[in-house]
């Protein structure tokens, strides 16, 4: 979930100040970590590519299948639908969460006296695991034994997991509930870093709060908005726990997003080859989208690395 903001940080490393070579560690110091990481992250990533050209049911050994697996994956209408659903869910997530978390972050950065107490409550969803959040909301939203049974005026028959619109709504709502505090934290930090002089100057010019917000706060938050959006995109595309626990991709295949489809193919349908192909596609799509956002925004040319906190 933590993103490519780092690529930016990495750039600094080439212009390290020169010093004497005494007391500098040899590459051997980095070896244990590198080998460990290669073994458990890079090797599997290569293997996922290899597996995507095989058929394997989990019984016996994988068998080479050339491009058959890929052809099968691309002919599967559910697969194509899952890509669209992933994008839809991600876009909805960004659209809903961004304004909310900016408002919340800017507010939390302010000087109000009750702020400390309230923000302590605000950030509680952050402490719960995705599993816990999903289990909590599945229980709360149960049509017969949860809140909808007592609030018919709001939920109707409570068929929240039985129609596509409602199920997507639930997924977007739950991830908003869970992640908005996180993004608000990013904005809180960034808002505090905005020089007060700018506001003072604006006040002298007679600009109101709203004007100040749109003309000073928002433009100053630009970097944070990009950071937070990349995090939302990567997070959105890889949403899994929430879908597994809340909707199981249903009704039918109406909320089967790619990350869940991958799991479903591999660990429920026992078509590990197809699962691997979808997984690989997911990595590529997430990386490409992130790179595009970084390029288009010109973010890679900026030096700011501190706006995170």
């Amino acid at each position: 979930m933590v993103s490519l903001t780092a690529t930016v940080t990495g750039k600094r490393q080439t212009q390290r100040p020169a010093g004497r070579s005494i007391g500098r560690p040899g590459l051997a110091w980095a070896l244990p970590a590198t080998i460990f990481f290669a073994l458990f992250a890079v090797v599997p990533l290569v293997l996922v590519a290899v597996l995507s050209f095989t058929t394997w049911s989990g019984l016996g050994s994988p068998e080479y299948a050339g491009f058959d697996t890929w052809a099968r994956v691309f002919q599967d209408p559910v697969m194509i639908k899952s890509l669209w659903l992933s994008v839809l869910l991600t876009v909805l997530g960004v659209v809903v969460q961004t304004p909310l978390s900016i408002l919340l972050g800017v507010w939390a950065a302010g000087p109000q006296r009750n702020r400390a107490v309230l923000s302590a409550i605000f950030f509680v969803p952050l402490l719960l695991s995705a599993t816990a959040v999903s289990v909590l909301w599945r229980a709360l939203l149960d049509p017969n034994f949860g809140v909808p049974s007592q609030a018919r005026w709001l939920f109707g028959d409570g068929n929240l997991f039985g129609t596509q619109t409602a199920a997507i709504g639930v997924l977007v709502f739950v991830s908003t509930w869970q992640f908005t505090p996180f993004h608000a934290l990013i904005y809180q930090g960034a808002t505090r870093a905005i020089p007060q002089v700018l506001y003072q100057a604006a006040q002298i010019d007679g600009a109101g709060t709203v004007r100040q917000f749109f003309h000073i706060t928002l433009p100053q938050l630009r970097n944070s908005i990009i950071t937070s959006m990349i995090l939302m995109i990567v997070g959105g595309l890889t949403t899994f726990d929430t879908v597994l626990i809340l909707t199981q991709g249903g009704p039918g295949t109406d909320t089967t997003i790619s990350a869940y489809y991958m799991y479903d193919k591999a660990f429920k349908g026992f078509d590990f080859g197809a699962g691997a192909a979808v997984a690989l596609m997911l990595v590529v799509v997430a990386t490409v989208i992130s790179l595009v956002v970084v390029r288009v925004s010109g973010y890679d040319k900026m030096a700011g690395t501190k706006e995170g906190l």
Binding site: F37, F40, L45
Partner: protein
Amino acid sequence: MRRRPNYLAGLGALLWLALVGLPLYVMLGATVQTREEYSAGGPLAFPRSFTLDNYIQDFGNGFGQYFLNTVVVTVSVVAIVLLLVPPLAFTIVRNRGRGTSGVFRLFLLGLAIPAQAVIVPMFYVISKAGLYDNLIGVILPTAAFCLPVCTLILTGTMRDITSDLFEAMAMDGASVRRTFFQLVLPLSGSGLSTIVVFSALQAWNGFLFPLVLTQSEETKVITLGLYNFRTQYGINIPGLLAAVVLSTIPVLLVYLFARRALVQGLMGVGGK
């Protein structure tokens, strides 16, 4: 000069308070009621009695064991991260060789790999290695996926150690190892505490690796216990929500006593 409060944001904040507060209230309220009282009154009713039976029953239903397993996983993951990351970050900051920048790039690339992407081959590798349904099989990949972020955080901290200090150490004729233990580690306290919290959270809240790589009661971690509880006894809402609360208590304690470190750990990046 005092800024005027931002009413627009304040309104959003109030709305958010309701959105977060209500579910938490329903959750806590449900866990102290008996099942009968909960089904009679529904989720929104104010609890009329107070019982801790739901929590006690959860412990009887295996959550004690799940808790222990999660502690083992968390401690081990943190230990691996603490063993591997400081020397790595030290090398990245102080070694100027070409190999180092290659290594650093590798870890930056690692940031973009989601765990979902490698779960299929991970299952293959772990089961071939005979580590399926073994906590080690969960610990190793979980730790590996913590490394990129932790490396990033710690190199950030170590870069702030001024080169004067390194030169002074070198002047004293200090060995690399002495420099590492007497200069670098002591001055990286904030970064170290951040990566401890970050990796502990990842391990504590991890779900996908345990879901795919374990199966039996003896290796079940708490997130998986929650998921199974939900799958089989979903309408025992008081018991279920009590389990949710139990799973969160350790994190809540850290939140109360080390809020700063927790927030930085949560943020992952930027924990300068």
